[in-house]
Assembly symmetry: C2
Homo-oligomer: 348 residues x 2
């Protein structure tokens, strides 16, 4: 499946299917005199003799989130310059969301921007690879330093997903679930049915594609997140706080955050989300739902206030369903939020 | 004089005049809830009790070129985040070209981009403040890491120029001279007449303005330097090599580079630039013209080959006059270039 963006200019294609890497990559690298590969060390170790065997002399970068800091970013830029990268070179970034975020930022900065393509290798990256945001982490929070810079292509070869650990799979599935929920009740019911017993990569293709399409539709209309793109942060307000405090994978924390958002939607907008059904689904698959019972209200509120997207004096912003299929940005006072956080513990 | 850009969108105004800082700055800062000032330490020391007396708690940054490195860049970004900068904040950058280059890059990266305005304080910055290029230096060369990011406004208060050292004035005048030469023979004759005895800031206003207009006209048509923007590099091929090797100010090196370009235009395109006239003008004002006699050909060629803009196998690219008012990108073979570098020593 090829999905094409529809910006005014600088459009690109996201190809999603099994076993497409070799062919798709070839059509790109043939167009450039010099190609530089940035590959996550863990991905390279797993695939250097198979799917990545034709890639010679890659720059192997620190695995996962540890790459998203100023020092590895700058070292990699210097390395590319040392190797003689030019304005008409191509950078190929192979790895998960973190590798893509920092790799995209590197491409945007070296020589004031060279072309790059992204080859995501995780389920979570079906989310982060769409939308043209690049970033590294600051001492003061995640993704606070970055740019908007679009790749020339995204090649999403689903073969890579079969080597994911269960933790990574659960994390990526959190965003698949979020996209389904944003799309429609039917979509999320359908997803939960397919994954009722266990979450199998082979069953997810259609949901990955509809998730990518949904996200692309939203980010095309609102690239710089001044309006509807904010709705993609469903579950992220509490999610980021849980992620930070308990050091659990992003998408797993988002999953818990989604449950809290549904709870708030019921309380504030009289929706009737079946919390027990969602809770049991998450618990069955091994999401750390007990954190919702164990979290400390004060810690959570303090962390939510530090998040750049929620900051508005004494108010903290949540994405809620104010009606079926209608999302709303809702500001909640700290004191009310404290009560909600306390009461969800009794509800679950 | 207010000069407005004419991009398709995100246009801004460059205001050029004496004593405009206070009023112009006020109309901008009033529009933002939070304003953060980044000020070159030398500029702040000179003006903190006069022109900058109303600015409280600025972030005072390392002076000049030493600010254009990864470490002070990242430290300043972290400082802004620590102080609670938001997406709707404004950054005001006060300093010369280097402060503007790194300050603009900081604004482009913090929270993926916040608004900024630039207040240039040097003559040289009449060049670098126009065109929306931001940059820091790499271990492998100048300006190799950066972005394209436009300010919301440039406020060029010419009062600042009166405190420039003679070295800085000569450097800035190099780019004023270049712009005049690019504009027309009449313009450069007129400039040389006005500055015949000495270069006085008060006499330069009209040339600064016509230089800014020329540069803006070119960069508007070719923001990302795929075509005519390259002509603004007149004198920079050898200029950058001299600057790097002999550690002299940018615009002074460019001035020597211009002389070499005029020499090459005479040799290759049978132009009749009066080299002796230009040489004497430069020597009279204290430009280090003796470097053109003393430079080592091999060193120069090696440095020119490392420059990202000249790189094309065995060829090195120069901007030359192929006819009066007609500029041409000309590739010169290393062996021929060696001869030209040797022979200009005999000619001067």
């Amino acid at each position: 499946m090829d999905i094409r963006t529809s910006y005014k200019n600088n459009n690109y294609t996201i190809s999603v299917a099994n076993d497409i890497l070799e062919n798709k990559l070839k059509t790109w690298t043939e167009q450039y005199e010099d190609v530089f590969y940035l590959i996550d060390e863990n991905v390279y170790a797993l695939y250097k003799d198979t799917k990545l065997k034709n890639i010679h002399s890659p720059i192997v970068v620190t695995g996962g989130e540890s790459f998203k800091y100023a020092s590895p970013l700058m070292n990699t830029i210097e390395k590319l310059l040392e190797l003689g990268i030019k304005r008409n070179s191509l950078i190929v970034v192979i790895g998960g969301g973190a590798t893509g975020d920092a790799g995209g930022m590197i491409a945007s900065l070296v020589l004031r921007g060279v072309d790059y393509i992204h080859i995501p290798t995780t389920l979570l990256a079906h989310d982060s690879a769409i939308g043209g945001k690049t970033a590294i982490n600051s001492l003061h929070g995640k993704n606070l330093i970055g740019s908007f810079y679009r790749p020339k292509a995204v090649i999403y070869d689903l073969d890579f997903l079969y080597s994911l650990s269960n933790d990574e799979k659960l994390s990526g599935f959190g965003e698949v679930f979020k996209h389904a929920l944003l799309l429609s009740e039917i979509e999320v019911e359908s997803l939960m049915k397919v994954t009722k017993d266990s979450i199998e990569i082979k069953d997810l293709t259609e949901f990955i594609i509809s998730g990518i399409k949904l996200k692309m539709d939203i980010v095309t209309k609102d690239e710089h997140e001044s309006g509807s793109r904010k709705f993609l942060n469903l579950g992220h307000t509490l999610g980021h706080a849980i992620e930070y405090q308990y050091k659990i994978p992003h998408g797993q924390a988002v999953m818990l955050g989604i449950l809290f958002s549904l709870y708030l939607s019921n309380e504030i907008y009289q929706q009737d989300f079946d919390l027990v059904k969602y809770y049991n689904f998450m618990a069955h698959h091994g999401y750390p739902v007990q954190l919702l019972q164990n979290m400390n209200e004060d810690d959570m509120i303090k962390l939510m206030q530090q998040d750049k997207k929620n900051h508005q004096g004494d108010l903290i912003t949540f994405i809620l369903f104010s009606d079926t299929n209608t999302l709303t940005l809702t500001d909640i006072k700290k004191s009310d939020l404290y009560d909600y956080l306390r009461r969800i513990k009794e509800t679950l």
